[in-house]
Point group: C2
Chain length 129, copies 2
DNA sequence: GGCATCTACTTTACGATGCAAAGTTTGAGT
DNA sequence: ACTCAAACTTTGCATCGTAAAGTAGATGCC
């Protein structure tokens, strides 16, 4: 007999769409939601700490999913790609965020010491071992 | 010239350790932090909505990283694996959570409408297209 | 003019990895 | 003895993230 609180799928978080959950794309989408007017490729690259190739690929994936719109033009005779969230991308991202908030709530409740989270997050990160 | 707010790495979220960030393992760790006494393999499988093979593999990864402790014993003459967070796993998970909270804050601030998040998260999820 | 350099991307290639399906082992039921 | 089921583990494939290499055009320098 399962424990009473072990409800099927209680912690499955179906809403964590892989398309969005991936770290690099999460960075990109968060950057874009914070800059509704759009961001140029180089700015986005710097903000997210990504390489050119990386950003290019992730943007292609997000564009394929119609989460972002890429406006390719020229600025000062140089190619310039402006990236923007589409309404669809925005909606999906906000849904995803709702699930993330749920994760944080569940975990904080489980840990029972949200103060500990606040404390621990201010410190430096340990080296991966 | 980059926009003034495009600080290098502002949205790079280095703390999103892949080991933890992966959806299935995030489920597992959240379940475990919510059940400090540990969880049996089948309960964990149900909670996280994972298949046997999936859970087994992710647990092995988490054990390798020393984030979980697997106590393999018997209950009613049947094999029973009890899974628990190690102190190290707990600490790392809480650090990760801090970063997640930062993501949610950044995004909510960017979206400028946290009410919208709350509203949207209560609805059903759209079919992936 | 020619050559190197820089920016702004894109493409390629490979190694990692998530996931499902099949396999194993032990036990209970009939 | 035979079947079914639980509790995992192992295998294999196909996806995917990432680094490195490649492309194209503009600028600077001599």
């Amino acid at each position: 007999m399962p424990l009473p609180e072990t409800i099927d799928g209680r912690f499955s978080y179906e809403g964590l769409d892989r398309l969005i959950h991936e770290k690099a794309r999460l960075s990109v989408l968060t950057s874009l939601v914070a800059h509704p007017k759009g961001l140029a490729f180089p700015d986005l690259r710097r903000l997210c700490g990504l390489t050119d190739g990386n950003l290019s690929r992730h943007l292609a994936v997000l564009q394929e999913a119609e989460f972002v719109d890429l406006e390719k033009g020229y600025d000062q005779n140089r190619p310039q790609t402006i990236c923007r969230l589409t309404p669809k991308g925005r909606t999906r991202f906000l849904q995803y965020l709702g699930v993330l908030e749920q994760v944080v709530r569940d975990a904080a409740k489980g840990a029972g010491k949200s103060a500990e989270i606040a404390r621990v997050m201010t410190g430096p990160f340990p080296e991966p071992t």
